[in-house]
Symmetry: C2
Subunit: 230 residues, 2 copies
DNA sequence: ATGGGCTTGTGAACGCATTCTCAAACCCGA
DNA sequence: TCGGGTTTGAGAATGCGTTCACAAGCCCAT
Protein backbone atom coordinates (compact mmCIF):
# COMPACT_ATOMS: atom_id res chain seq x y z
CA UNK A 1 0.00 0.00 0.00
CA UNK A 2 2.59 2.54 1.08
CA UNK A 3 5.43 2.31 -1.36
CA UNK A 4 6.34 1.00 -4.71
CA UNK A 5 8.57 2.13 -7.52
CA UNK A 6 10.52 5.33 -7.01
CA UNK A 7 11.04 6.96 -10.45
CA UNK A 8 14.52 6.57 -11.85
CA UNK A 9 15.02 10.31 -12.08
CA UNK A 10 14.25 10.60 -8.39
CA UNK A 11 16.66 7.82 -7.45
CA UNK A 12 19.39 9.71 -9.29
CA UNK A 13 18.71 12.84 -7.24
CA UNK A 14 18.53 11.26 -3.82
CA UNK A 15 22.34 11.14 -3.53
CA UNK A 16 22.43 14.86 -4.28
CA UNK A 17 20.01 15.62 -1.51
CA UNK A 18 21.92 13.36 0.80
CA UNK A 19 25.16 15.19 0.12
CA UNK A 20 23.56 18.55 0.80
CA UNK A 21 21.97 17.26 3.99
CA UNK A 22 25.26 15.89 5.28
CA UNK A 23 26.88 19.26 4.58
CA UNK A 24 24.11 20.82 6.66
CA UNK A 25 24.60 18.63 9.70
CA UNK A 26 28.23 19.63 9.58
CA UNK A 27 27.08 23.23 9.81
CA UNK A 28 24.74 22.21 12.66
CA UNK A 29 21.52 22.85 10.73
CA UNK A 30 18.70 20.91 12.38
CA UNK A 31 15.78 21.61 10.08
CA UNK A 32 15.51 22.37 6.38
CA UNK A 33 12.69 23.50 4.10
CA UNK A 34 12.24 22.13 0.60
CA UNK A 35 13.19 25.58 -0.65
CA UNK A 36 16.55 25.53 1.17
CA UNK A 37 17.33 21.95 0.20
CA UNK A 38 16.43 22.76 -3.40
CA UNK A 39 18.86 25.64 -3.41
CA UNK A 40 21.63 23.53 -1.91
CA UNK A 41 21.12 20.72 -4.40
CA UNK A 42 20.62 22.97 -7.39
CA UNK A 43 17.07 21.96 -8.27
CA UNK A 44 13.58 23.38 -7.86
CA UNK A 45 11.65 23.03 -4.64
CA UNK A 46 8.59 21.31 -6.07
CA UNK A 47 10.91 18.62 -7.33
CA UNK A 48 12.40 18.16 -3.88
CA UNK A 49 8.97 17.79 -2.30
CA UNK A 50 7.74 15.37 -4.93
CA UNK A 51 10.93 13.30 -4.76
CA UNK A 52 10.81 13.07 -0.99
CA UNK A 53 7.12 12.23 -1.03
CA UNK A 54 7.96 8.99 -2.85
CA UNK A 55 9.79 7.85 0.27
CA UNK A 56 7.00 8.77 2.66
CA UNK A 57 5.69 11.81 4.53
CA UNK A 58 8.75 12.81 6.44
CA UNK A 59 8.23 16.57 6.57
CA UNK A 60 6.26 18.79 8.90
CA UNK A 61 4.00 21.44 7.35
CA UNK A 62 4.93 24.93 8.33
CA UNK A 63 8.36 23.73 9.47
CA UNK A 64 10.24 21.61 6.97
CA UNK A 65 12.25 18.41 7.27
CA UNK A 66 14.39 17.24 10.17
CA UNK A 67 17.86 16.95 8.70
CA UNK A 68 19.05 13.95 10.68
CA UNK A 69 15.85 12.03 10.14
CA UNK A 70 15.86 12.73 6.42
CA UNK A 71 19.47 11.60 6.14
CA UNK A 72 18.47 8.37 7.78
CA UNK A 73 15.47 7.82 5.52
CA UNK A 74 17.32 8.58 2.31
CA UNK A 75 20.26 6.42 3.36
CA UNK A 76 17.92 3.57 4.11
CA UNK A 77 16.16 3.96 0.78
CA UNK A 78 19.47 3.98 -1.09
CA UNK A 79 20.70 0.95 0.78
CA UNK A 80 23.49 2.82 2.51
CA UNK A 81 22.78 1.41 5.94
CA UNK A 82 24.95 -1.51 4.95
CA UNK A 83 28.38 -1.67 3.35
CA UNK A 84 28.87 -2.86 -0.22
CA UNK A 85 31.97 -4.63 -1.47
CA UNK A 86 33.29 -3.69 -4.89
CA UNK A 87 35.69 -5.39 -7.26
CA UNK A 88 37.72 -3.47 -9.79
CA UNK A 89 38.40 -5.35 -13.02
CA UNK A 90 41.40 -3.97 -14.93
CA UNK A 91 43.99 -2.19 -12.84
CA UNK A 92 45.50 0.33 -15.25
CA UNK A 93 45.56 4.10 -15.08
CA UNK A 94 41.95 4.48 -14.14
CA UNK A 95 41.51 1.34 -12.06
CA UNK A 96 44.49 2.35 -9.96
CA UNK A 97 43.08 5.87 -9.44
CA UNK A 98 39.78 4.43 -8.28
CA UNK A 99 41.48 1.93 -6.01
CA UNK A 100 43.47 4.72 -4.36
CA UNK A 101 40.45 6.91 -3.95
CA UNK A 102 39.51 7.52 -0.34
CA UNK A 103 36.05 9.05 -0.03
CA UNK A 104 34.92 5.88 -1.66
CA UNK A 105 34.60 4.12 1.64
CA UNK A 106 33.20 7.26 3.20
CA UNK A 107 29.72 6.25 2.13
CA UNK A 108 29.84 2.53 2.59
CA UNK A 109 31.55 1.37 -0.58
CA UNK A 110 34.63 -0.74 0.01
CA UNK A 111 37.05 -1.81 -2.68
CA UNK A 112 37.44 -5.44 -1.70
CA UNK A 113 39.28 -6.86 -4.70
CA UNK A 114 41.37 -5.92 -7.72
CA UNK A 115 41.78 -8.29 -10.65
CA UNK A 116 43.71 -8.03 -13.89
CA UNK A 117 44.64 -10.45 -16.65
CA UNK A 118 48.18 -9.12 -17.10
CA UNK A 119 50.57 -11.55 -15.44
CA UNK A 120 53.07 -8.74 -14.99
CA UNK A 121 50.56 -6.96 -12.75
CA UNK A 122 49.17 -9.90 -10.81
CA UNK A 123 50.75 -10.06 -7.38
CA UNK A 124 51.48 -6.33 -7.33
CA UNK A 125 49.89 -4.12 -4.70
CA UNK A 126 47.81 -0.95 -4.76
CA UNK A 127 47.55 0.50 -1.29
CA UNK A 128 46.89 -2.51 0.94
CA UNK A 129 45.24 -4.61 -1.73
CA UNK A 130 46.87 -7.22 -3.91
CA UNK A 131 46.14 -7.44 -7.63
CA UNK A 132 44.77 -10.91 -8.27
CA UNK A 133 44.25 -13.08 -11.31
CA UNK A 134 41.24 -12.31 -13.48
CA UNK A 135 40.83 -16.09 -13.88
CA UNK A 136 39.98 -16.39 -10.20
CA UNK A 137 37.26 -13.76 -10.41
CA UNK A 138 34.35 -16.02 -9.43
CA UNK A 139 36.11 -17.48 -6.41
CA UNK A 140 37.29 -14.10 -5.18
CA UNK A 141 33.86 -12.51 -5.66
CA UNK A 142 32.24 -15.23 -3.61
CA UNK A 143 34.85 -15.21 -0.84
CA UNK A 144 34.71 -11.43 -0.39
CA UNK A 145 30.96 -11.15 -0.94
CA UNK A 146 31.43 -8.67 -3.74
CA UNK A 147 28.17 -7.17 -4.97
CA UNK A 148 29.35 -4.40 -7.29
CA UNK A 149 31.72 -4.84 -10.22
CA UNK A 150 33.65 -1.93 -11.71
CA UNK A 151 35.00 -2.42 -15.21
CA UNK A 152 38.13 -0.46 -16.12
CA UNK A 153 39.55 -2.70 -18.80
CA UNK A 154 40.10 -1.62 -22.40
CA UNK A 155 36.87 -1.52 -24.43
CA UNK A 156 37.61 -4.78 -26.22
CA UNK A 157 37.77 -6.68 -22.92
CA UNK A 158 34.71 -5.08 -21.32
CA UNK A 159 32.07 -7.56 -22.48
CA UNK A 160 34.20 -10.47 -21.33
CA UNK A 161 34.71 -8.86 -17.96
CA UNK A 162 30.98 -8.25 -17.62
CA UNK A 163 30.20 -11.86 -18.49
CA UNK A 164 32.54 -13.09 -15.79
CA UNK A 165 31.09 -10.71 -13.22
CA UNK A 166 27.59 -11.91 -14.06
CA UNK A 167 28.60 -15.53 -13.86
CA UNK A 168 30.06 -14.76 -10.44
CA UNK A 169 26.56 -13.77 -9.34
CA UNK A 170 27.13 -10.01 -9.37
CA UNK A 171 24.02 -7.97 -10.21
CA UNK A 172 25.43 -4.43 -10.30
CA UNK A 173 28.05 -3.21 -12.75
CA UNK A 174 29.63 0.16 -13.35
CA UNK A 175 31.37 0.34 -16.71
CA UNK A 176 34.07 2.88 -17.57
CA UNK A 177 35.08 1.32 -20.87
CA UNK A 178 33.74 3.01 -24.00
CA UNK A 179 31.84 -0.02 -25.21
CA UNK A 180 28.26 -1.18 -25.28
CA UNK A 181 27.95 -4.23 -23.09
CA UNK A 182 25.05 -6.66 -22.75
CA UNK A 183 23.90 -8.08 -19.45
CA UNK A 184 20.82 -10.07 -18.42
CA UNK A 185 17.70 -8.15 -17.39
CA UNK A 186 18.21 -8.70 -13.70
CA UNK A 187 21.62 -7.00 -13.71
CA UNK A 188 21.88 -3.23 -13.26
CA UNK A 189 24.38 -1.63 -15.56
CA UNK A 190 25.51 1.95 -15.46
CA UNK A 191 28.18 3.52 -17.57
CA UNK A 192 30.49 6.48 -17.22
CA UNK A 193 31.91 7.67 -20.49
CA UNK A 194 34.31 10.57 -20.37
CA UNK A 195 34.67 10.77 -24.09
CA UNK A 196 30.92 11.20 -24.56
CA UNK A 197 30.90 13.99 -22.00
CA UNK A 198 33.64 15.80 -23.87
CA UNK A 199 31.81 15.39 -27.16
CA UNK A 200 28.66 16.88 -25.67
CA UNK A 201 30.67 19.85 -24.43
CA UNK A 202 32.23 20.18 -27.84
CA UNK A 203 28.80 20.31 -29.48
CA UNK A 204 27.69 23.27 -27.37
CA UNK A 205 31.09 24.93 -27.55
CA UNK A 206 30.87 24.87 -31.32
CA UNK A 207 27.36 26.33 -31.26
CA UNK A 208 28.60 29.16 -29.08
CA UNK A 209 31.56 29.81 -31.36
CA UNK A 210 29.33 29.85 -34.45
CA UNK A 211 26.88 32.22 -32.78
CA UNK A 212 29.67 34.53 -31.66
CA UNK A 213 31.17 34.70 -35.12
CA UNK A 214 27.78 35.58 -36.61
CA UNK A 215 27.48 38.39 -34.11
CA UNK A 216 30.98 39.53 -34.90
CA UNK A 217 30.31 39.50 -38.65
CA UNK A 218 27.04 41.44 -38.18
CA UNK A 219 28.79 44.09 -36.18
CA UNK A 220 31.48 44.47 -38.84
CA UNK A 221 29.16 44.65 -41.83
CA UNK A 222 26.76 46.95 -40.01
CA UNK A 223 23.88 44.64 -40.88
CA UNK A 224 22.79 44.85 -37.27
CA UNK A 225 21.21 48.12 -38.39
CA UNK A 226 18.57 46.13 -40.28
CA UNK A 227 16.74 45.54 -37.09
CA UNK A 228 13.11 44.55 -36.59
CA UNK A 229 11.93 48.15 -36.48
CA UNK A 230 12.48 49.94 -39.84
CA UNK B 1 15.01 27.37 -42.03
CA UNK B 2 16.87 24.06 -42.12
CA UNK B 3 18.21 23.56 -38.67
CA UNK B 4 17.78 24.73 -35.21
CA UNK B 5 18.09 23.19 -31.77
CA UNK B 6 18.92 19.52 -31.58
CA UNK B 7 17.29 18.06 -28.44
CA UNK B 8 19.68 17.46 -25.58
CA UNK B 9 18.83 13.78 -25.43
CA UNK B 10 19.77 13.47 -29.07
CA UNK B 11 23.09 15.27 -28.59
CA UNK B 12 23.95 12.79 -25.87
CA UNK B 13 23.33 9.88 -28.24
CA UNK B 14 25.23 11.16 -31.25
CA UNK B 15 28.58 10.08 -29.77
CA UNK B 16 27.17 6.58 -29.34
CA UNK B 17 26.16 6.39 -32.98
CA UNK B 18 29.51 7.78 -33.98
CA UNK B 19 31.34 5.09 -32.05
CA UNK B 20 29.26 2.35 -33.64
CA UNK B 21 29.78 3.82 -37.10
CA UNK B 22 33.54 4.01 -36.65
CA UNK B 23 33.53 0.36 -35.56
CA UNK B 24 31.66 -0.40 -38.78
CA UNK B 25 34.14 1.28 -41.10
CA UNK B 26 36.81 -0.79 -39.43
CA UNK B 27 34.81 -3.86 -40.43
CA UNK B 28 34.47 -2.38 -43.94
CA UNK B 29 30.71 -1.84 -43.74
CA UNK B 30 29.68 0.76 -46.33
CA UNK B 31 25.99 1.19 -45.66
CA UNK B 32 23.88 0.83 -42.55
CA UNK B 33 20.13 0.79 -41.86
CA UNK B 34 18.60 2.48 -38.85
CA UNK B 35 17.77 -0.99 -37.58
CA UNK B 36 21.40 -2.10 -37.67
CA UNK B 37 22.72 1.09 -36.19
CA UNK B 38 20.11 0.89 -33.45
CA UNK B 39 21.24 -2.61 -32.58
CA UNK B 40 24.89 -1.57 -32.48
CA UNK B 41 24.21 1.44 -30.30
CA UNK B 42 21.76 -0.31 -28.03
CA UNK B 43 18.69 1.82 -28.77
CA UNK B 44 15.53 1.50 -30.81
CA UNK B 45 15.46 2.19 -34.52
CA UNK B 46 12.77 4.89 -34.52
CA UNK B 47 14.99 6.82 -32.13
CA UNK B 48 17.94 6.52 -34.48
CA UNK B 49 15.91 7.83 -37.41
CA UNK B 50 14.43 10.70 -35.45
CA UNK B 51 17.81 11.65 -34.00
CA UNK B 52 19.49 11.63 -37.39
CA UNK B 53 16.65 13.58 -38.95
CA UNK B 54 17.52 16.52 -36.71
CA UNK B 55 20.81 16.81 -38.57
CA UNK B 56 19.28 16.64 -42.02
CA UNK B 57 18.07 14.01 -44.49
CA UNK B 58 21.18 11.98 -44.93
CA UNK B 59 19.62 8.59 -45.54
CA UNK B 60 18.34 6.93 -48.68
CA UNK B 61 14.94 5.25 -48.53
CA UNK B 62 15.08 1.58 -49.26
CA UNK B 63 18.83 1.56 -48.63
CA UNK B 64 19.95 3.15 -45.38
CA UNK B 65 22.76 5.52 -44.51
CA UNK B 66 26.22 5.75 -46.02
CA UNK B 67 28.54 5.04 -43.13
CA UNK B 68 31.39 7.38 -44.13
CA UNK B 69 29.06 10.24 -44.93
CA UNK B 70 27.15 9.82 -41.68
CA UNK B 71 30.40 9.80 -39.70
CA UNK B 72 31.32 13.06 -41.37
CA UNK B 73 27.95 14.68 -40.67
CA UNK B 74 27.81 13.62 -37.03
CA UNK B 75 31.42 14.68 -36.48
CA UNK B 76 30.68 18.05 -37.98
CA UNK B 77 27.58 18.47 -35.84
CA UNK B 78 29.50 17.56 -32.69
CA UNK B 79 32.32 19.92 -33.55
CA UNK B 80 34.86 17.13 -33.98
CA UNK B 81 36.25 18.44 -37.24
CA UNK B 82 38.52 20.62 -35.16
CA UNK B 83 40.72 19.83 -32.16
CA UNK B 84 39.89 21.06 -28.69
CA UNK B 85 42.46 21.88 -26.05
CA UNK B 86 41.73 20.84 -22.50
CA UNK B 87 43.20 21.90 -19.17
CA UNK B 88 43.16 19.62 -16.12
CA UNK B 89 42.87 21.45 -12.82
CA UNK B 90 44.10 19.38 -9.87
CA UNK B 91 46.65 16.72 -10.69
CA UNK B 92 46.04 14.07 -8.04
CA UNK B 93 45.00 10.45 -8.45
CA UNK B 94 42.29 11.13 -10.95
CA UNK B 95 43.83 14.09 -12.76
CA UNK B 96 46.94 12.05 -13.37
CA UNK B 97 44.93 9.11 -14.73
CA UNK B 98 43.13 11.40 -17.14
CA UNK B 99 46.36 13.07 -18.21
CA UNK B 100 47.89 9.68 -18.99
CA UNK B 101 44.88 8.54 -20.90
CA UNK B 102 45.51 7.96 -24.57
CA UNK B 103 42.29 7.56 -26.53
CA UNK B 104 41.59 11.05 -25.34
CA UNK B 105 43.33 12.57 -28.30
CA UNK B 106 41.92 9.87 -30.52
CA UNK B 107 38.83 11.98 -31.11
CA UNK B 108 40.28 15.44 -31.17
CA UNK B 109 40.66 16.25 -27.48
CA UNK B 110 44.15 17.25 -26.47
CA UNK B 111 45.30 17.71 -22.89
CA UNK B 112 47.19 20.97 -23.31
CA UNK B 113 47.82 21.98 -19.71
CA UNK B 114 47.93 20.67 -16.15
CA UNK B 115 47.67 23.00 -13.18
CA UNK B 116 47.76 22.41 -9.46
CA UNK B 117 48.04 24.63 -6.38
CA UNK B 118 50.37 22.33 -4.47
CA UNK B 119 53.90 23.76 -4.69
CA UNK B 120 55.31 20.28 -4.18
CA UNK B 121 53.67 19.18 -7.42
CA UNK B 122 54.29 22.26 -9.56
CA UNK B 123 57.21 21.66 -11.91
CA UNK B 124 56.68 17.89 -11.89
CA UNK B 125 55.82 16.10 -15.11
CA UNK B 126 53.10 13.73 -16.25
CA UNK B 127 54.00 12.18 -19.57
CA UNK B 128 55.37 15.04 -21.61
CA UNK B 129 53.44 17.78 -19.83
CA UNK B 130 54.65 19.92 -16.96
CA UNK B 131 52.42 20.63 -13.95
CA UNK B 132 52.06 24.40 -13.75
CA UNK B 133 50.93 26.85 -11.10
CA UNK B 134 47.19 27.22 -10.60
CA UNK B 135 47.84 30.95 -10.13
CA UNK B 136 48.89 31.23 -13.77
CA UNK B 137 45.70 29.57 -15.03
CA UNK B 138 44.39 32.54 -17.03
CA UNK B 139 47.68 33.17 -18.80
CA UNK B 140 48.18 29.49 -19.63
CA UNK B 141 44.61 29.07 -20.87
CA UNK B 142 45.02 31.99 -23.21
CA UNK B 143 48.45 30.97 -24.50
CA UNK B 144 47.36 27.40 -25.27
CA UNK B 145 43.88 28.33 -26.48
CA UNK B 146 42.24 26.05 -23.97
CA UNK B 147 38.50 25.72 -24.45
CA UNK B 148 37.57 22.93 -22.07
CA UNK B 149 38.37 22.83 -18.36
CA UNK B 150 38.41 19.59 -16.39
CA UNK B 151 38.13 19.88 -12.63
CA UNK B 152 39.72 17.13 -10.55
CA UNK B 153 40.42 19.04 -7.36
CA UNK B 154 38.92 18.12 -3.97
CA UNK B 155 35.27 19.17 -3.65
CA UNK B 156 36.09 22.17 -1.48
CA UNK B 157 38.29 23.68 -4.19
CA UNK B 158 35.96 22.99 -7.12
CA UNK B 159 33.99 26.24 -7.09
CA UNK B 160 37.18 28.25 -6.93
CA UNK B 161 38.65 26.30 -9.82
CA UNK B 162 35.48 26.86 -11.87
CA UNK B 163 35.56 30.60 -11.16
CA UNK B 164 39.12 30.83 -12.41
CA UNK B 165 38.32 28.81 -15.54
CA UNK B 166 35.39 31.10 -16.27
CA UNK B 167 37.45 34.20 -15.73
CA UNK B 168 39.98 32.76 -18.19
CA UNK B 169 37.23 32.82 -20.80
CA UNK B 170 36.52 29.09 -20.80
CA UNK B 171 32.91 28.18 -21.62
CA UNK B 172 32.94 24.39 -21.15
CA UNK B 173 33.66 22.62 -17.90
CA UNK B 174 33.66 18.98 -16.89
CA UNK B 175 33.56 18.52 -13.14
CA UNK B 176 34.63 15.35 -11.35
CA UNK B 177 34.49 16.77 -7.84
CA UNK B 178 31.43 15.80 -5.79
CA UNK B 179 30.24 19.37 -5.32
CA UNK B 180 27.57 21.58 -6.80
CA UNK B 181 29.24 24.40 -8.66
CA UNK B 182 27.72 27.56 -10.08
CA UNK B 183 28.66 29.02 -13.44
CA UNK B 184 27.18 31.78 -15.60
CA UNK B 185 24.44 30.85 -18.07
CA UNK B 186 26.72 30.94 -21.08
CA UNK B 187 29.03 28.28 -19.66
CA UNK B 188 28.27 24.58 -20.23
CA UNK B 189 28.84 22.48 -17.17
CA UNK B 190 28.70 18.72 -16.99
CA UNK B 191 29.49 16.54 -14.05
CA UNK B 192 30.69 13.02 -13.54
CA UNK B 193 30.05 11.68 -10.08
CA UNK B 194 31.22 8.18 -9.34
CA UNK B 195 29.77 8.18 -5.86
CA UNK B 196 26.30 8.97 -7.18
CA UNK B 197 26.57 6.14 -9.68
CA UNK B 198 27.46 3.71 -6.92
CA UNK B 199 24.58 4.90 -4.78
CA UNK B 200 22.15 4.37 -7.65
CA UNK B 201 23.47 0.83 -8.08
CA UNK B 202 23.12 0.29 -4.37
CA UNK B 203 19.47 1.35 -4.49
CA UNK B 204 18.58 -1.27 -7.08
CA UNK B 205 20.83 -3.89 -5.52
CA UNK B 206 18.97 -3.47 -2.27
CA UNK B 207 15.62 -3.78 -4.02
CA UNK B 208 16.76 -7.00 -5.63
CA UNK B 209 18.00 -8.36 -2.33
CA UNK B 210 14.71 -7.49 -0.64
CA UNK B 211 12.70 -9.09 -3.42
CA UNK B 212 14.82 -12.23 -3.36
CA UNK B 213 14.42 -12.64 0.36
CA UNK B 214 10.65 -12.29 0.04
CA UNK B 215 10.68 -15.02 -2.59
CA UNK B 216 12.86 -17.18 -0.38
CA UNK B 217 10.54 -16.69 2.58
CA UNK B 218 7.48 -17.51 0.45
CA UNK B 219 9.01 -20.68 -0.80
CA UNK B 220 9.84 -21.76 2.73
CA UNK B 221 6.43 -21.04 4.21
CA UNK B 222 4.69 -22.53 1.21
CA UNK B 223 2.60 -19.40 0.75
CA UNK B 224 3.49 -19.46 -2.94
CA UNK B 225 0.66 -21.98 -3.15
CA UNK B 226 -1.81 -19.14 -2.73
CA UNK B 227 -1.51 -18.30 -6.37
CA UNK B 228 -3.88 -16.34 -8.58
CA UNK B 229 -5.81 -19.38 -9.68
CA UNK B 230 -7.57 -21.16 -6.76
C1' DA C 1 -7.97 28.83 22.63
C1' DT C 2 -7.55 31.01 18.37
C1' DG C 3 -5.80 33.14 14.20
C1' DG C 4 -1.97 34.26 11.17
C1' DG C 5 1.88 32.88 8.71
C1' DC C 6 4.54 29.10 6.73
C1' DT C 7 5.47 24.85 4.46
C1' DT C 8 4.23 20.34 2.97
C1' DG C 9 2.06 16.99 -0.07
C1' DT C 10 -0.29 16.21 -4.20
C1' DG C 11 -3.69 16.71 -8.02
C1' DA C 12 -3.51 18.92 -12.53
C1' DA C 13 -1.29 21.11 -16.44
C1' DC C 14 2.40 21.20 -19.19
C1' DG C 15 6.44 19.96 -21.97
C1' DC C 16 9.82 16.99 -23.68
C1' DA C 17 11.19 12.46 -25.30
C1' DT C 18 10.05 8.00 -26.98
C1' DT C 19 7.54 4.97 -29.69
C1' DC C 20 4.14 3.69 -33.18
C1' DT C 21 2.81 3.92 -37.71
C1' DC C 22 2.66 4.53 -42.56
C1' DA C 23 2.97 7.22 -46.90
C1' DA C 24 6.71 8.55 -49.73
C1' DA C 25 10.85 7.40 -51.92
C1' DC C 26 14.40 4.56 -53.52
C1' DC C 27 16.76 0.36 -55.71
C1' DC C 28 16.87 -3.52 -58.52
C1' DG C 29 15.52 -7.24 -61.31
C1' DA C 30 12.59 -8.73 -64.88
C1' DT D 1 9.77 0.68 -68.01
C1' DC D 2 7.42 -1.11 -64.23
C1' DG D 3 6.37 -3.43 -59.79
C1' DG D 4 7.83 -5.56 -55.48
C1' DG D 5 10.55 -5.19 -51.56
C1' DT D 6 12.84 -2.25 -48.44
C1' DT D 7 13.78 1.72 -45.60
C1' DT D 8 13.47 6.56 -44.48
C1' DG D 9 11.28 10.66 -42.50
C1' DA D 10 7.85 12.59 -39.94
C1' DG D 11 2.92 13.14 -37.97
C1' DA D 12 0.36 11.36 -34.16
C1' DA D 13 -0.08 8.94 -29.84
C1' DT D 14 1.74 7.83 -25.69
C1' DG D 15 4.46 8.06 -21.53
C1' DC D 16 7.39 10.11 -18.20
C1' DG D 17 9.12 13.91 -15.61
C1' DT D 18 8.76 18.68 -14.28
C1' DT D 19 6.42 22.55 -12.70
C1' DC D 20 2.36 25.01 -11.06
C1' DA D 21 -0.87 25.92 -7.71
C1' DC D 22 -3.32 25.39 -3.59
C1' DA D 23 -5.81 22.98 0.22
C1' DA D 24 -4.45 20.80 4.37
C1' DG D 25 -1.82 20.94 8.36
C1' DC D 26 1.50 22.63 11.73
C1' DC D 27 3.65 26.07 14.96
C1' DC D 28 3.67 30.01 17.70
C1' DA D 29 2.34 34.44 19.45
C1' DT D 30 -1.22 36.61 21.60
N1 LIG E 1 42.44 6.54 -17.91
C1 LIG E 1 41.43 7.34 -18.03
O1 LIG E 1 41.50 8.47 -17.60
C2 LIG E 1 40.18 6.94 -18.70
C3 LIG E 1 39.22 7.87 -18.92
C4 LIG E 1 38.01 7.49 -19.53
C5 LIG E 1 37.83 6.18 -19.90
N2 LIG E 1 38.78 5.28 -19.70
C6 LIG E 1 38.52 3.92 -20.09
O2 LIG E 1 38.75 3.10 -18.97
C7 LIG E 1 39.36 1.91 -19.38
C8 LIG E 1 40.69 1.76 -18.69
O3 LIG E 1 41.52 2.84 -19.05
P1 LIG E 1 43.03 2.88 -18.57
O4 LIG E 1 43.60 4.16 -19.02
O5 LIG E 1 43.07 2.54 -17.12
O6 LIG E 1 43.64 1.70 -19.44
P2 LIG E 1 44.94 0.84 -19.11
O7 LIG E 1 45.34 0.20 -20.37
O8 LIG E 1 45.89 1.66 -18.33
O9 LIG E 1 44.38 -0.29 -18.13
C9 LIG E 1 43.62 -1.39 -18.56
C10 LIG E 1 43.93 -2.56 -17.63
O10 LIG E 1 43.04 -3.63 -17.92
C11 LIG E 1 43.78 -4.83 -17.93
N3 LIG E 1 43.06 -5.81 -18.74
C12 LIG E 1 43.07 -5.94 -20.08
N4 LIG E 1 42.26 -6.94 -20.46
C13 LIG E 1 41.74 -7.47 -19.33
C14 LIG E 1 40.85 -8.52 -19.06
N5 LIG E 1 40.31 -9.24 -20.03
N6 LIG E 1 40.54 -8.78 -17.79
C15 LIG E 1 41.07 -8.07 -16.80
N7 LIG E 1 41.90 -7.03 -16.98
C16 LIG E 1 42.24 -6.75 -18.24
C17 LIG E 1 45.12 -4.47 -18.47
O11 LIG E 1 46.10 -5.41 -18.06
C18 LIG E 1 45.33 -3.09 -17.82
O12 LIG E 1 45.95 -3.24 -16.56
C19 LIG E 1 39.48 1.98 -20.88
O13 LIG E 1 38.39 1.32 -21.46
C20 LIG E 1 39.43 3.43 -21.16
O14 LIG E 1 38.90 3.69 -22.43
C21 LIG E 1 39.96 5.64 -19.09
N1 LIG F 1 40.36 9.36 -7.52
C1 LIG F 1 39.21 8.89 -7.94
O1 LIG F 1 39.14 7.80 -8.39
C2 LIG F 1 38.00 9.73 -7.88
C3 LIG F 1 36.80 9.15 -8.21
C4 LIG F 1 35.65 9.92 -8.19
C5 LIG F 1 35.73 11.23 -7.84
N2 LIG F 1 36.88 11.77 -7.52
C6 LIG F 1 36.92 13.19 -7.17
O2 LIG F 1 37.86 13.80 -7.99
C7 LIG F 1 38.56 14.77 -7.27
C8 LIG F 1 40.03 14.46 -7.26
O3 LIG F 1 40.25 13.20 -6.67
P1 LIG F 1 41.69 12.67 -6.42
O4 LIG F 1 41.58 11.31 -5.86
O5 LIG F 1 42.51 12.86 -7.62
O6 LIG F 1 42.18 13.66 -5.27
P2 LIG F 1 43.69 14.07 -4.92
O7 LIG F 1 43.67 14.63 -3.55
O8 LIG F 1 44.58 12.94 -5.23
O9 LIG F 1 44.01 15.22 -5.95
C9 LIG F 1 43.54 16.51 -5.83
C10 LIG F 1 44.55 17.45 -6.43
O10 LIG F 1 44.02 18.77 -6.49
C11 LIG F 1 45.01 19.69 -6.07
N3 LIG F 1 44.36 20.89 -5.59
C12 LIG F 1 43.79 21.13 -4.38
N4 LIG F 1 43.27 22.36 -4.34
C13 LIG F 1 43.50 22.93 -5.54
C14 LIG F 1 43.19 24.18 -6.09
N5 LIG F 1 42.52 25.10 -5.42
N6 LIG F 1 43.57 24.42 -7.35
C15 LIG F 1 44.24 23.50 -8.06
N7 LIG F 1 44.56 22.28 -7.58
C16 LIG F 1 44.19 22.01 -6.33
C17 LIG F 1 45.77 18.97 -5.00
O11 LIG F 1 47.05 19.53 -4.85
C18 LIG F 1 45.83 17.56 -5.59
O12 LIG F 1 46.94 17.40 -6.42
C19 LIG F 1 37.98 14.80 -5.89
O13 LIG F 1 36.99 15.79 -5.82
C20 LIG F 1 37.35 13.44 -5.77
O14 LIG F 1 36.25 13.46 -4.89
C21 LIG F 1 38.03 11.04 -7.53
Amino acid sequence: MKENSVPEATVARLPLYLRSLVDMTERAVATVSSEQLAEAAGVNSAKVRKDLSYLGSYGTRGVGYDVEYLIYQISRELGLTQDWNCMIVGVGNLGRALANYRGFGSRGFRVAALVDSDTAKIGGRVGDLEIEDFEDLERIAKERQVSIGIITTPAAAAQGAADRLVSAGIHSILNFAPALIQVPDDVSLRKVDLSIELQILSFYEQRKAAFDSVRRARRLTGSAARSTRP
